[in-house]
Structure formats: C-alpha cells, structure tokens
C-alpha cells in the first residue's frame, strides 16, 4: 500500500487524499470528538516536554527560559542508587505484567464457570472493592496486619516479626497488595469479554464433544488473547513508571525497607521534595516515556512478526 502511494506523483497523491477523505468522512466525523479532545488536552500541553531541557524561571514563558541541555537528567543517573532504583522498578513491573496477564484472566474465567450466577455476581462485585480503597488507607490496613505490637500477624501466637524493619518480606507484600488491589478491577475487562463471546461457539464445541477444559482452551482463551496481548504491550510502555501510591505509602516511610521499595517515582519524589524543581520532574518523566516508547515499538514489532492481527499498530 505504502509503496504504491510513494510511487505515485505528487498531484495524484493530493487527489487521492481528498478522495480518501471523501470515502472516509463518516469515520472521520465519528473520530472527531475524541481527536479534538486529545489534541487539546494531550498534544497542546506536550510543548511542556521541552521543560526537561530548561532551567525554570517563573517570570518567563516556557520558551524564554534558558536551555540547560541534559543537566536536569543528571540527578537520575549520577547517583549511587541508580542501579537499585532501576532494578526495583523494572523487576516489580515485570512481575506486575505477568500477574496482570494471568490472575485477572483466571478470575474472569472462574467467574464465568460458576454454576450459580447469583454468587458469581457477588464475587464479581466484591472483587472490585479493593480498587476503591486509596493507598493511604491501605497503608494503615497494612499496619493493622504488620504492626509489631498490635498487628494481626504478630498476635497469632508465633514469634513476633519486626516486619517494618525486615526488607526480605516486602517484595512479596508489595506484589500481594498490587494484585489484591488491581486484579478484581482488571478482571471486569476479561469477564465482559467472555460475556461477549458468541454462546453458539460453546454449544457447537459441546456437540463436538469438547469438555469444559477444552472449551476454555480453544474458545475462551483465544478470544481473550487480543485483550491480554494489548494490555501487556501497553504495560511494557510503562515499565519505568512505578505505582507511586503503593511504593510510597505502604512501607510507611520505613527507611530500612528502602533498598527493596525505592522505585523511580519514589526516588524522584524524595529527591525533589525540597527543591520542587518541575524541570527535573519533567526530565524524569521524559526519560520514563522515551524508554517506554522504544520498548513498545520493539514489542509491537515482535508481535507483528508473529501475528500481524495482534499488533497495536
């Protein structure tokens, strides 16, 4: 398609463009509200990306501020913790991506299998609850669980554990809270997708003698696959963006845990808490975006090589 297009002459391309517009005007019209919305609230503000390379001076406009090159990025890379911070961020996110592609799917399939549909509704609804509890509140619930003196775990008769001073437990605790909070929410997507599957397919499979397990494998999972792949690709793009609320609030500011809880967003927050430099936080965000962008392009390329229909674009 593209080759043909580049081969045509300039004026032909132009008439082709108008023709295309005319042929697609209904689509274009339908996309217009969203297009304008994104233009206004996402693309116009993107001018702010250059803040990452500027020295903040509030008395000037963004364009008049002085260029400083990559100076705003230095605090990210010229610090002794950079390796720990990046390692934590990436490893946690990898675990989250894997968990995100399995647990919610399992929950959704499980729900769809339950014979009693009323109970399924109850579980479905209850599973959504944790999503509404803010991280600040969850951090206090965690205290109720892990507190040395009054915590539920330390009052179960076992040798008390000094949870908030022992880093080795925390990767598990944080992963648990992440899954617990987000999976019920994400399961809704897959549950809805299962509900959208044509039930005739199952009936046909049943007549062909496929058992429930087989039906899941040949019908349910393949129809969820595009959603799973898409969510995973998008999550790869956020591999350097840590869930600040989780990593900042739940460890309750316990410094002893920082080696396993310090992720990029927490690091940036701590580093900039006092000097409040929006140029440096822009730089941090820019770095996260660029890395994510490249990774998505690569992932998307690989996916396209394997199965073109599953690629994002």
């Amino acid at each position: 398609m593209r080759k043909v297009q580049t081969a045509t002459k300039q004026n032909e391309k132009k008439t082709g463009f108008i023709k295309n517009i005319r042929n697609n005007w209904q689509f274009l019209l339908m996309a217009m509200p969203g297009f304008v919305q994104v233009l206004l609230f996402s693309y116009l503000p993107m001018a702010g990306l250059i803040l990452a390379f500027k020295s903040i001076d509030y008395s000037k406009s963004i364009f008049e501020m002085d260029w400083v090159g990559f100076k705003n990025f230095e605090f990210l890379f010229k610090n002794p913790d950079v390796f720990t911070v990046l390692r934590n961020t990436i490893l946690y996110n990898l675990v989250f991506i894997i968990a995100g592609a399995t647990v919610p799917v399992a929950i959704a399939i499980g729900l769809s299998l339950l014979r009693n549909k009323r109970m399924a509704k109850v579980y479905h609804g209850v599973g959504f609850l944790p999503y509404f509890i803010s991280w600040v509140i969850i951090s206090y619930l965690a205290v109720a669980l892990f507190d040395y003196r009054l915590g539920i775990l330390n009052n179960m008769g076992m040798e008390p554990v000094n949870w908030y001073q022992t880093p080795k437990y925390w990767p598990f605790i944080l992963v648990f809270f992440h899954i617990w909070k987000s999976c019920g929410y994400n399961a809704v997507i897959y549950y809805a997708a299962i509900k959208g599957i044509d039930s005739e397919l199952y009936e046909a499979a049943a007549i062909d003698g496929a058992g429930v397990g087989r039906q899941i494998w040949v019908i349910t999972v393949p129809s969820l696959k595009p959603t799973i792949i898409m969510m995973a690709i998008l999550a790869v793009g956020k591999i350097l963006n840590a869930d600040f609320g989780l990593f900042y609030n739940v460890p309750m500011g316990s410094g002893a845990l920082l080696p396993v809880t310090n992720v990029l967003d927490v690091f940036t927050y701590n580093a900039l808490k006092l000097n409040g430099d929006i140029a440096m936080s822009s730089a941090s965000g820019f770095f996260q975006s660029i890395v994510g962008f490249c990774l998505v392009l690569i992932t998307n390329y690989i996916v396209r090589r394997i199965d073109e229909s599953q690629a994002l674009f």
Binding site: Y43, L44, M46, Y58, N79, P80, R149, G255, P259, I278
Partner: protein, 474 residues
C-alpha cells in the same frame, strides 16, 4: 510518525503564544481583588466572612479579599503550577519547605522596597532579627508570621502516670535525656501497658544536638561562631547520640518495628520540639507536661516556619502590601479573617478572649499561626491567658544565631541534593527508631552520604558562607 511530530511542533508554537499572555485580574466594582492562598479547612461561611472583610475595608483600602484554603500537599503543587502558568494570585503561605525554591526561581516578589514604602507596621511588629532570618542574598521575599521566634527541645510526659508512680519530681528535674533512664526503668516495670519512651524523627537525640541545619547535611554547630560548616552526620556527637537511642532500645524503652504510626498515648513520654505552653495545648485527652531540655534558640529555620509571600503574578503588589500591613497592625481585620464574625462564629468573653461556637461554619483556630501576627489575634478560652506574655518573654530571652540570614542557593548541586535526600529517607527514621546497631548504621549512613556527594554540598555552603560573612558580618 512524521505527521505526529509536525503536529507537535505546531502545538508547541500555539502554547508558546498562549504562555506569553497572562490573565487579567478580576476586579469587583473597580476594586482590586486579593487572592490569598493558605493551608486550611474549607469553611461553609467563607463567603460571609469575605463579605464582612470587604465591608470592613470599605473606605480604608480599595481592595476586596478572596480566600483560597488548600490542603498541605496541595498548596505546593498548586502554587508551582499557577506560578508556571502565569496565573494571577497575590498572597501565598510559604515556609522553609518551598520558600527557597519559589524565590530562587523568580515566583515571588522582592519585598524590601515595598516594605520601606508601605510596611512600617510590619517592620515594627516583627523586629529587626526576625525579618533578617529569611533573607536570600540580602532580599526578603516573604514576611514571617509573628509568633514564637525560636525553638527548643524537651520531653512531654503523661502527668497521671508519673504521679501514680511517684516520679513526678524526679522527671521534672532532669537536665538531659541521659537522666531519663532510671525513670524509664520504673515505668517499664510498673506500667507495662505503656511503652516507656519514643523519640520521633526530627526530635530525637541527634536533633537535640540542635545543629543549625543550612542545607542537608551541611550544618553549623549550635551556638558556634567560627563559621565552620560541617556534615553533621560525620560528627562524633551524632554517632554518640545515635548510640544513646539504640541503648534505650536495648534496654527495652522503645518500641520495636518503628514508631511512626503509633499514637502518642501509647507512650509514657516522648521527646519533642517545644515552645512555651505546648503541653497545655496537647492536653485535651490526657494530661501532658513538658520538661524543657535545650536552651531556646533562634536559627534561620525558625524565622521561616510560616511566612506570607506576594506572588510575582500579582497585578498590584503595592495594594497587597498595604493590605498586609493592615493585617499586621489592625487586630479587628486580622481576627475577622482568623476567627470569623463575632456572634456568628465566636462570642467574646472579655476584651482579648473569645469562645468559639461549635460547628459555626468558620474559624481557623488550628491554622491561626499562618496569619500575620498571633499577638494581635484573640485568645480562645482554651488558651493559656498568659500565652502572649510567655511568648514575648521567650522571644526576648533567646539569642539569635550568629548565622541568621545566611541562606545559600545550592540549586547548582541539585544532583547531590537529590541523592542525599534519598539517603536521608533511608536512614533518618532508622536512627530515630533505634532498632538497629547504631555503630553499624551510622557508618553505613556516612558512607552512603559520602557516595551521594555530601562533601560537595558542605564545600559549596562553606564557600557561600565565607562570601556572605565578608559583607554581612559586623
């Protein structure tokens, strides 16, 4: 792809044109509207109070007031964005947390000329030293709220428990935290339901050394005059103090697992940042009594605890300064803003004491220290009637630090500052909790600070101090 980037360029240009032009300020009836941002609750009667203020200002000053209370974490973010977006606002609360950052990035109006012209009342109220402390490069960018001018450290203890155990006299007479051990032993034995002691981060033994913190971790020794900047974590005193905390933990006086989430009622006593009469204010549920341990000191940070700044985006700073001058001098106006309308939000007991009306829909009592001059505000019936005299006395006896007004600009070291801040986040709480071996912990703390570039900060602060001392020391 190319098209997207082309579009980005266009967007960039559009925003650039927008960024240039600011919003023109709203005026009500030809008067200038003053937008005042502060930390506080959103009260139902805010509008009514604003109207009362405007009525009071009628004929005195051609301005109207619009109050904008924000929450703690919100105010920094919103002020940053408004300053960046060139949005008009006039007065904002600021403190040591963001003052330096806002001022050095040109978000705040330099005030000295305005003060000379319209601010005589403010100058009189604050006195010479207090206004000196928050100068950056010799310029004031904010006005401190007139309240207690310094700080000291000490402990608070539960009166009832002490009386029951017969240790009141003993504890009232301690001279330092070192004298506390035998008392805590008694508490541990006879009141096992209580945790004997707590030293919260920021009020623990290492802070009681009262280093004058300039830019973490650069500091001066308390009361020193030699102008020598040190990394306070590297000092032998710091190690000593950290060991004392851990020793207390070993003896079972402290709570394992960190104390940051525990309510104060869990503890028999805790160390704290004090001012006169703090114990009375804390004693609504339990009776607390304070024992003062360090002498009161006025350091630069004390003068920047709560300040009012005028924004660069203000359209009429002269009028705003006149208005602030009125707030600092006219107690009727100030009390209207702080406590609301008499009869509706409070009733008068005598000339200077009021009783708040429960749930009246206005009353900034917990945040009144953000408003100009607490000596000109009413006292409530719960306040110590002698509070103002106590504070005045307190402000008189304390000696201003030798380095008052030295506030270096270390924005060129933002990398080191960021790295050190992360080290601080890792260790400071651990030191205060005292759970781990102090020797080992402090050694690790020092190593990491060194790697993070603490030395650069110390050197830069020293350099700037030497320069500052040349022009500012008499």
């Amino acid at each position: 792809m190319k098209r997207i980037f082309a579009m980005l360029m266009v967007c960039t240009l559009v925003i650039g044109l927008l960024g240039g032009c600011g919003d023109s300020g709203k005026t009500a009836g030809g008067k200038y509207e003053i937008d005042w941002y502060y930390v506080g609750e959103q009260f139902a009667d805010e509008k009514a109070v604003e109207e009362a203020v405007n009525a009071y200002l009628e004929g005195k000053l051609d301005v109207t007031l619009n109050l904008h209370p924000l929450d703690w974490s919100g105010i920094t973010e919103k002020i940053n964005v408004m300053a960046g977006g060139g949005e008009k606002f006039d007065i904002t609360y600021t403190s040591i947390t963001n003052y330096n950052a806002l001022a050095s990035k040109n978000a705040l109006m330099p005030l000295n000329d305005l003060l000379d012209k319209y601010g005589q009342g403010i100058k009189d109220a604050l006195g010479e030293h207090f206004l000196e402390g928050s100068k950056l490069n010799g310029t004031n960018y904010a006005l401190p709220v007139n309240k207690e001018h310094g700080h000291h450290y000490g402990i608070l203890y539960q009166v009832d428990v002490a009386e029951k155990l017969g240790i009141t006299e003993q504890i009232d007479n301690i001279k330092s935290l070192d004298d506390l051990d035998p008392i805590l032993d008694i508490v541990k034995e006879k009141a096992p339901e209580l945790v004997p002691f707590r030293s919260p981060k920021g009020c623990d033994d290492t802070y009681m050394l009262d280093f004058e913190h300039i830019a973490y971790p650069a500091a001066f020794y308390a009361d020193s005059t030699d102008g020598k900047v040190v990394n306070y974590v590297d000092t032998p005193e710091f190690m000593e103090a950290a060991k004392k905390i851990h020793a207390r933990f070993e003896k079972g006086y402290l709570l394992p697992g960190g104390t940051q989430t525990q309510a104060t009622e869990t503890f028999f006593a805790y160390s704290y940042l004090l001012k006169p009469g703090l114990d009375k204010e804390q004693s609504t549920k339990l009776d607390w009594k304070q024992v003062d341990l360090t002498p009161p000191r006025m350091q630069s940070s004390d003068t920047m605890g709560a300040m009012l700044a005028i924004s660069k985006t203000s359209e009429n700073p002269e009028l705003v300064m006149q208005f602030l001058n009125m707030c600092y001098t006219d107690s009727n106006l100030l009390n209207l803003i702080v406590y609301g309308i008499e009869g509706k939000h409070y009733t008068k007991i005598d000339d200077n004491t009021i009783k708040l009306i429960e749930n009246s829909g206005y009353g900034n009592v917990s945040m009144r220290w953000e408003f100009c001059d607490i000596f000109k505000q009413y006292l409530t019936e719960k306040d110590d009637p002698a509070r103002n005299e106590q504070f005045a006395e307190y402000n008189k006896i304390m000696t201003p630090s030798n380095y008052l007004g030295f506030n270096p600009d270390i924005s060129s070291l933002s990398t080191q500052v960021g790295a050190c801040a992360n080290v601080r986040a890792e260790f400071e709480q651990q030191i205060a909790d005292g759970n781990s071996d102090a020797e080992e912990l402090v050694t690790k703390y020092r190593e990491k600070l060194k790697l993070a570039g603490a030395e650069d900060i110390v050197k830069e602060v020293q350099r700037q101090y030497d320069e500052w001392a040349k022009t500012n020391k008499k």
